[in-house]
Symmetry: C2
Subunit: 268 residues, 2 copies
């Protein structure tokens, strides 16, 4: 069985901590039923009035990744200029929204006109562009950031990272969250100019959300408040049924998803 | 006139703050005599019993660069494994010595057997190698660091940076101090694997010593104490006379210097 992070309902339990009917979140396997052995990563979950899907995406690791990456790695200041790549993805879409709520100027890029429209209209990004329609990334970023980029939240690596560093201000920060370009090679792998990194004292830092579990409570409270007031709009892309699992993965690698890609195995 | 950081003796002064015979350090121009206008960067200098050359190198910007880069950017812990490139250069040679005195394990690389011997014998590096004799940087670093690199003090950029990141431990730090490879293109420019940067939570950070003037007093006291006890041995490569200026620059770009390259214009 292949493991995944998921949410489910207990149908039978030999463990006194869990009862039939409990909602749980944790490491499940792909499929209609999972058998969790003692020592497995599983917790009871209080949905708190939110759809269960929120507890897989925006209120789980995708959200924590965006929150910790933006606040802990990028250490933003109000008014700073933030660029987010793969901005309609599960993490990027949240980073942009956290950054806007915090008082930054935010531009995102994505791979279609529909995604760009979504970023500007639904998620209130200050601006957005379709990177597939762009010939020269460096001059494009110069146009969107005439005063330079302070923070680049990097979900793609490669050429985009090089172009962002070229446009970065002094003391700029790059949070390296994902490297779509290295998975699929659809962009050439490219090096940021280390001369720029030195003269502009740029910090490029990789991170994993798992290192920030001590921030989970902060993250959860802040994010659920914003979800209740409608200040944060989670993007979800849910396909249905075990049979949709392979196509879900394919759409992920083809970047066809908008927001968090999830598979719903059964109705609640 | 081309400016440079230098030390000189006042031969005439229209400024009451400076008298004939004062030793001064600051922004001078290349040549036997410099005229410093009001507002120029110039300070009286107390040699404190050290050769004047120390006040151009080990006790000036080269030293501060090594000190701030190692302690402020790399934030070392005792016992960590440190790799220094261009380790026989003005900055690298000091980084290695600071790291050893601090209690780290230090390996340097340099471009000749003589330089390698110097690092091991005179400067007490734990080990050193000649990068020009190496076919595969990645596996070479693996051999010198079987338990991985915690800190890479990068004076060259390029391929060496990629190979160091490949060998880095979790939470590794790269201080980007110089990029010889980007100046001269003698190495191919190469990208570190961003996948490694993420999974190993690596920080790659550029810096300039000028941002750490607030650490100058610490640096100066620590370093002059080590110089007096002989715990730090400055490497100096001094050529003589105005006529040696062009060849001094050439030797620098050919990496023929050992330690801080300086030109002595006149006897004290």
């Amino acid at each position: 069985a292949i493991d995944t992070y998921g949410v489910g309902k207990v149908v039978a339990s030999g463990n006194p901590e869990f009862e039939k009917g409990d909602i749980v979140g944790g490491l499940l396997s792909w499929g209609e039923y999972s058998v969790i052995k003692p020592g497995g990563m599983l917790n009871k979950l209080n949905p708190m009035g939110f759809p269960l899907s929120y507890h897989v995406g925006v209120l789980a690791f995708s959200g924590l990744t965006a929150y910790a990456g933006f606040f802990e790695i990028c250490k933003p200041k109000k008014g700073e200029k933030v660029f987010v790549s793969a901005a309609s993805g599960s993490v990027g879409s949240l980073v942009g929204q956290y950054a806007k709520l915090f008082g930054c100027y935010v531009v995102g890029c994505a791979g279609s006109q529909d995604k760009v429209a979504l970023l500007k209209e639904k998620l209130s990004f200050d601006d957005a562009f379709n990177y597939k329609e762009v010939k020269d990334l460096k001059s494009t970023l110069k146009r969107y950031f005439p005063d330079g980029i302070d923070i680049y939240f990097d979900n793609v690596g490669g050429e985009m990272q090089g172009a962002a560093v070229d446009n970065m201000n002094i003391s700029g920060r790059v949070a390296v969250c994902g490297v779509i370009s290295e998975y699929t090679d659809y962009e050439k792998r490219a090096a940021p100019s280390m001369m720029d990194v030195i003269y502009k004292r740029i910090k490029i830092q990789g991170f994993l959300a798992g290192d920030y579990l001590n921030k989970f409570a902060d993250f959860f409270t802040t994010t659920s408040d914003h979800l209740r007031t409608g200040n944060i709009k989670p993007l979800e892309d849910i396909s249905k049924g075990v049979e949709s699992i392979p196509s879900a993965f394919i759409s992920l690698f083809r970047a066809q998803n908008v927001g968090k890609k999830m598979v719903k195995i059964a109705e609640e």
